[in-house]
Symmetry: C2
Subunit: 118 residues, 2 copies
DNA sequence: CTTTCATATCAACGTCTCTTGAGATATAAA
DNA sequence: TTTATATCTCAAGAGACGTTGATATGAAAG
């Protein structure tokens, strides 16, 4: 990820509705969610939701595919990890004071749980 | 770092001049740099620079202290690591597809990394 | 105390962003 | 085909953002 892509991604994530959409889609897994379901979760009108989804897709943080009459959106995991890696490498040049605590915080949370079998 | 702080930080970093200022200050170390030196590096007028520095300081990504007749700005390492940690924890809920590659990319760069805690 | 240097503040302007509401498009069902 | 469902697109308006130029503040030097 280069600087321009990172700026787009940061701009996309710096908006409450969009940050929440990404969070929702990350937890939703690779199958993603239909736009309507996302809109319901966000309490957003169709055009407002479409605006933000388009914005996120443009920034590369989300991707879409048609599924019947709905359109399913899913998180672009690679772009998200690319953004975080960009921030860490960018910040880490000479100063692990940023990256070390960040990685430590990650290790401290219960994240690396592969898949809670339903 | 909570959602509101993260949104502020993401918004602050989503602007080219400000992202570059942060990058510069991170490499500058805890001593930071005088505003004039930053402005010279950015090719920015005094008021434009002041606008962005104030924005960054408001977002908590930078701090300032007077030093003679200049004002030195330095990176807020804790806020930066907090932001990255926020993104990782926020993204990692259920999907290490984001965090694992990000941490791996960090390990691959020349920065000293902490050993992952159990 | 006046001058000079470093930086901040303010007002004004153009531009971008977000929201809303109306209408268009695509898919599926009757 | 007609109708209903799901989503997108467009235009307009309010507000936020970023730049500029002029001015103010604050610290040091003469």
């Amino acid at each position: 990820m280069d600087e321009t892509q990172a700026l787009d991604a940061l701009g996309a994530l710096s908006q409450e509705t969009r940050l929440r959409i990404v969070r929702l889609l990350v937890t939703a897994g690779p199958e993603g969610m239909a736009a309507g379901v996302i809109g319901e979760a966000m309490g957003a009108t169709s055009s407002r939701l479409s605006f933000h989804l388009t914005h996120l897709e443009h920034a590369g943080l989300v991707q879409s595919r048609r599924d019947g009459r709905s359109i399913r959106y899913s998180a672009a995991y690679e772009a998200l990890s690319g953004l975080i890696a960009f921030l860490m490498r960018d910040c880490c040049q000479g100063h692990p004071d940023v990256c070390t605590p960040a990685v430590a915080a990650l290790s401290a949370c219960a994240c690396p749980t592969p898949e809670p079998a339903a």
